[in-house]
Every structure is written in structure tokens, then in C-alpha cells.
């Protein structure tokens, strides 16, 4: 079929089964927007900033497991989107991002709204293309979707000059991809898996170290079974929250900088780390030379470059978690759960010694209380996204996650402004769940224009602002490491968040007591429109425990003992 480049974009999205895309138009991409206008197959959500379009696509992808799609224009449209691309790259989120470019004849002339987009996106995408010929488009787009979603997922950027979107060429999407140079390795080596099972059987204090790769691989339920069958305790990274259910006996919470005492001690005492789709991030390991010092390391990852990058693996396995875990399940007979009874007790003792907790207060609302409370009231019925800062860590620590893809947050890049647009994408992907965004008084201002998108699209995201009048996470470091010199972190000057939300047609609540919070949350859910719940929380609360940057996991700053909550 002979069609224009712009029509090809539409046809390819339809062929890929895309249902919702996010974007923002402009000169160089207008031909494509004209075709979007003419079609009825998928929905386009106009965000109010290109960065938000990418974050929304990320949220959509994380919640649904599908490839997220965003479309933007050249120049400033593209540069606005770069933070989103970098965010998706760090967290391995499959996206296809299509940008307009100035016509071929103007490339390199410093034309209006020209920027070397693929030059910029090269270092923050899995792959990118500048399409110079409409005839290449079907192949490029098909490749883009395949590369984004296979192997270690990631964002793929396709830059299309305006004249190429107008060119007519043959469109055939049934072409076979010929990617001789890209063949992700998904099946783990069976002999190596057998060795791993023997190593586990021989270990006395083995520990599962679960990462975001388990979720990417849709393997959470297989992993739950493996953990249960083997009786081996498990710690989760921030990105893996929800792999095990919060009430799983064998879950030892999150590890790392703000991980629990028990999780970090378990990692320090284990004799065999079994890493499944986790990448030994510095926020997790602390001082590398002290990390799991006396342990053997099993590392299963689909990306060979992840293995032995930071901690050298004794049992490297390149493969997809689901395949490898299924194989491990088949061989799990060699493992005797009773053997680890003492080890499980040791960890339980750690947990009893310093549980993940906070000192609740009757006067002031503690931020952790809000999160626990939402957990009590909504539990499994909500998807949780967050912005970046203290509220983000408390969400990871205190929300009772019960399933994979329930928790959506910017881990690798730590992008303030991620939460609200991501929650919009999450709500678009799973409308049957309540979409909660835990945010801070700093972060929410970094994409609050998305109130308009949420109102227009009737995507009733509930933003719970844990308002401490501070850039709290930075303030915490200033308290601890900069002698309380609060340089530029005091946010005492604030907008009226209620009016802000109302100005866009949303709803707002100002909350100072626990009772008011319950009422506000209930009302927001009933009203079913986008909401800001501005909760005044204890200003100087710190996230604890904490492993100071570069310190060893077993040297944690702990919650000061008072009367327990």
C-alpha cells in the first residue's frame, strides 16, 4: 500500500495494537498530527508539557506491561522530553518516542526549531533512528517496538524529518525483521542453573535479592512460588516492591540506603546472594567492598553488562527471569526449606530488634501515618505512584504492596515531577484501580500543569501532598551532614494548593488532622475527579533507617528509640 510517512506512523501504531498515546504537537510533527486527527483506533492524550507526555507513557507502560508511546515536535518539544527519556532509560521502561524534525533539506543549517535530536538522545535511549526516507519507516518502527520491549527493555527514539512524513512510499508491516546484530539471550544455561541449585542447597544462609527485572519479566508469581518452595528469605529493591506480597512471611522488606535494618543485616550476613533482575545500584550496596562480604553471588540478568559490573558474580546467568525461575522451580527438589530455619530466625530477630517503624503522634500528622492509612483504606485497590524525596521513600517503606506493577516511581534517575503525569498514565492503563500519587510540596510544582490533562481526560488521579514545607530529602541531608544549614530548601512560601487544583477544575482539600484526612480521601474517591489533598505533616521528620552515602549496609542510622508506635 502506497501511503505517506505520517500515515505509516498511524498504521504502525495500529498494527502494534497501541490503544493510548501521549503527546504534544508542533510544526515539524504536524503531518502526523493531521493523521492522528483522522483516525479513530487509538486515543491521543494531550499532556500540557512534553516531559509529562513521556512520564505518562512511562506510567502507562509500567502499569500495563505494554510499550508506552509518545509523540512530540522538534527542537524545544524534543528537548523538553529528554528528562523523560533519561528516566525511562535508567529504569528500563519500554517506550517508543517519535519526534518531528526539520525537513531534510534544512538539517544542519541551524533551522528554526532544529536540534540534533538523535545526538542528544543517544546517551539516554536504548537505540535511536533518524529516518531519512519514508520507505524505511515501516522497518524502523517495527524494529523500534521490538527493541524497546525485548531483552532489557528501554526507550527507543525515532526522529522523522517533516518532509519524510509527507513522502509517499510502500507500506508493508508484515516484513520479517532481520536483526542480525541484536539477539537478546533469554534462556539461561541449564547446566549453570543446575550448579546454582546445588550452591543454594549447600548454602546455610542464602538470600534472594529481587530487583525490577522480576517485574519486567512478568515473573513475580513464579518468584513467589520459588521463594515459598525453598523457604529462602527475600529482600526487594525499591524497583521490586510488590514482587512479594507485603504479608509474605519470607519478605524482609526493602534493602539499601533506606532499607530496613533486617534487610540490610540479612544482606550483610548471607553466605549466598541470589540476585534476580537486580543491578547492584549504589543506593542498594552502600560501600561495595563491604557488601555481602562473605557471600557467593548468583546473578541472573538479561543484560550481560549488568553482570559483574559492580559485584563479581560466582554464578552468572544471562537470561530472562521467568525462564530461569521456571527452570529453578523444576529443580527445586534439591533444596530443603527446613535447613534455613535458623537463618529465618536470625532475620526475624533482626526485625524485632529494629523494625521498620516511626513514632506516631496524636497532635501532628506523621507522613508515614498517611501512607499507612491509605494502605489500610485502599490496599490492593490502588495503584501507587510517587514523586521524589522523603515521601517517596516512606511510600516504599510503609505501603502494603500486594502485587507487581502496583508501585510506580522514578528509581534510577530520581526525577521530581515524575509522579503526577506517571499517575495519569497509570490511570489511563488501569482505570479500574484508584490512582494515588504520593508527592511532596516541592515535586508537585514540577508538573502541576497536568491538572489540566487529568481534568480534560477525566483521569481522577488523587495527589496526596505530604507537605512539610521543605525540599525534605535535601533538608534531611543538610540536618545530618551540613550542620543544619538549610540552604534553599525552605518552602515556607507556598501556593494555595486547594485553589490551584480548583483553578483547573479539579478538587482540593487542606488537611491538618487525621480525621480530616480520612474525610478528604473518601470524598475525593467519591467525587471521582482529579484531586490535591494538601496534608500538613511534621516538618522535620527524617527517613530512617539510613545508610549514609558510601557507608556500609550494616552501619545504619536508626530510628531513635522512644516509646514504640
Amino acid at each position: 500500500m502506497q501511503i505517506s510517512g505520517a500515515q505509516m506512523v498511524i498504521e504502525a501504531l495500529i498494527a502494534e495494537g497501541v490503544e493510548t498515546i501521549f503527546g504534544y504537537p508542533g510544526g515539524a510533527i504536524m503531518n502526523v498530527y493531521d493523521e492522528i486527527y483522522k483516525q479513530k483506533t487509538f486515543k491521543h492524550i494531550l499532556t500540557r508539557h512534553e516531559q509529562a507526555a513521556i512520564h505518562a507513557a512511562e506510567g502507562y507502560s509500567k502499569a500495563s506491561g505494554k510499550v508506552g508511546v509518545a509523540i512530540i515536535t522538534s527542537g524545544p518539544g524534543f528537548t523538553n522530553a529528554v528528562t523523560g527519556l533519561a528516566d525511562a532509560y535508567m529504569d528500563s521502561i519500554p517506550l517508543v518516542v517519535i519526534s518531528g524534525q526539520v525537513p531534510m533539506s534544512l538539517i544542519g543549517t541551524d533551522a528554526f526549531q532544529e536540534i540534533d535530536a538523535i545526538g542528544i538522545s543517544r546517551s539516554c535511549t536504548k537505540h535511536n533512528y533518524l529516518v531519512t526516507n519514508a520507505a524505511d519507516l515501516p522497518g524502523v518502527l517495527k524494529e523500534a517496538f521490538y527493541i524497546a520491549s525485548s531483552g532489557r527493555p528501554g526507550p527507543v527514539h525515532v526522529d522523522i524529518p517533516k518532509d519524510v512524513t509527507a513522502q509517499i512510499a510502500e507500506f508493508d508491516y508484515s516484513i520479517e525483521l532481520d536483526l542480525e546484530t541484536y539477539k537478546p539471550h533469554t534462556k539461561g544455561n541449564p547446566r549453570q542453573i543446575k550448579k546454582v541449585m546445588e550452591a543454594i542447597a549447600n548454602a546455610r544462609r542464602p538470600l534472594f535479592y529481587l530487583g525490577g527485572g522480576v517485574i519486567n519479566s512478568n515473573a513475580a508469581y513464579e518468584v513467589r512460588e520459588l521463594v515459598k518452595k525453598t523457604g529462602i528469605p527475600a529482600v526487594e529493591t525499591f524497583m521490586a516492591r510488590g514482587v512479594l506480597s507485603h504479608d509474605d512471611e519470607l519478605l524482609v522488606s526493602m534493602l539499601g540506603m533506606h532499607g530496613s535494618y533486617a534487610a540490610n543485616m540479612a544482606m550483610s550476613e548471607t553466605d549466598l546472594v541470589i540476585a534476580l533482575g537486580a543491578r547492584f545500584d549504589d543506593r542498594v550496596t552502600g560501600k561495595l567492598s563491604e557488601f555481602a562480604k562473605n557471600a557467593g553471588v548468583v546473578h541472573v540478568d538479561i543484560d550481560p553488562a549488568s553482570i559483574s559490573k559492580l559485584v563479581s558474580a560466582d554464578y552468572p546467568i544471562v537470561g530472562d527471569i521467568k525462564n530461569v525461575v521456571c527452570e529453578m522451580l523444576e529443580q527445586s527438589i534439591v533444596i530443603k526449606a527446613e535447613k534455613y530455619e535458623q537463618w529465618r530466625k536470625t532475620i526475624k530477630n533482626f526485625d524485632e530488634l529494629h523494625p521498620l517503624a516511626y513514632h506516631d503522634d496524636t497532635e501532628n500528622i506523621k507522613p508515614q501515618w498517611v501512607i499507612e492509612r491509605v494502605g489500610e483504606l485502599l490496599g490492593d485497590s490502588a495503584n501507587i505512584s510517587t514523586d521524589v524525596g522523603q515521601h517517596q521513600m516512606w511510600s516504599a517503606q510503609f505501603y502494603p504492596f500486594s502485587r507487581p506493577r502496583q508501585f510506580i516511581s522514578s528509581g534510577g534517575l530520581g526525577t521530581m515531577g515524575f509522579g503526577f503525569p506517571a499517575a495519569i498514565g497509570v490511570k489511563a492503563a488501569s482505570p479500574e484501580k484508584i490512582s494515588i500519587n504520593f508527592t511532596g510540596d516541592g515535586s508537585i510544582l514540577m508538573n502541576c500543569q497536568e491538572l489540566m490533562t487529568a481534568v480534560e481526560q477525566k483521569l481522577p488521579v488523587i495527589n496526596i501532598i505530604l507537605n512539610n514545607n521543605y525540599l525534605g530529602m535535601v533538608r534531611q541531608w543538610q540536618t545530618l551532614f551540613y550542620d543544619k544549614r538549610y540552604s534553599e530548601t525552605d518552602l515556607s512560601i507556598q501556593p494555595d494548593f486547594v485553589k490551584l487544583s480548583e483553578a483547573f477544575g479539579g478538587i482540593g482539600y487542606k488537611v491538618a488532622t487525621k480525621e480530616e484526612f480520612d474525610i478528604a480521601l473518601k470524598d475525593a474517591i467519591e467525587k471521582n475527579i482529579v484531586a490535591f489533598i494538601d496534608v500538613a505533616v511534621e516538618r522535620l521528620e527524617d527517613v530512617m533507617p539510613m545508610v549514609p552515602s558510601g557507608g556500609s549496609l550494616y552501619n545504619m542510622m536508626l530510628l531513635e528509640k522512644k516509646e514504640k508506635k
Partner: protein, 158 residues
Amino acid sequence: MQDENARRVISVIVVNEASVLSRITDLFSGRGYNITSLTVAPIPNSKYSRLTIVTSGSVRVIEQITKQLHKLIPVLKVYEHADLVEKEMALIKFPVTENITDISTLCAAYNGKIVNASENIIIVMVADEPKRVENFLNLIQRYNPKEIVRSGSVALER
């Protein structure tokens, strides 16, 4: 003990397409690896090119470089050479007033010869192992070379 910063030669087979070279050089600069030399040319009768990269680093760094290179979509193969034949070429320009016989004899000892002569200058080439090219370039300093250009290494596994 392996030298922490030993010299290594890596060959990379890549699809011959736009911006493939910048993907590779960006990878090195973005991750803080250094490139001592880099040569590229198409492989005859194929859609691929071959790069020879000379770099340095610990075993671990080189292993990461190799894996990261492999991760680039247009990269077909990456060889980190252990046992290889390595050659480099250099062109050197001298004033004709220098002792041409001496220069010419030296060149011959390094697989080279005079390749161009004009009224005021001569140009010689040598082709040899990089270490030996280095030697040669030291030796000819006394003949006042005007310009020196080195090609960078090319290598093949034995």
C-alpha cells in the same frame, strides 16, 4: 597480577550505517573510558565495517567496555584480542635537505620507503608493529620531520 592500566586492542564489527561511529565514541566518553587510537574501514563485500580500538584499563574495565559495546544495537561482534598480529602505518614528511640515504635505510628497516618526493620535501611511509613505529619515530627525530601522521592500529587474531 594484571596491570591495572594495560594496553588492550579491541576489534568491533558494526553495521555500516549513519552515526554508528558516534555511538561507539559516545560510549567511551560517556563512561569515562579512553581511546588511544581508532581505525575504521568497511569490510569488503558486506554491510559491515571493522573498527580497531586501542584502549587501556583493568581487566574489569575492559570486560565492561566489551559488554557495553556488544549492547549497542548495530554491533555484530566484539573481539578482545589476546594473541594478535597488529600493524600500524605512519607517514612522515622531511625537508629534502636532510640525509635522504639515512632516512631511506631506516625506513627499509621498518617495512617502509619513500613514497613521494617533490622539490622541497620527501614523504616516507613505514608500516610495522605500533611499538616499532614508535621506535622509528623516535629515531628520525634528528632528521627534523616536518609532519607526522599515524594511522592507528589494525589487528587480526592469530
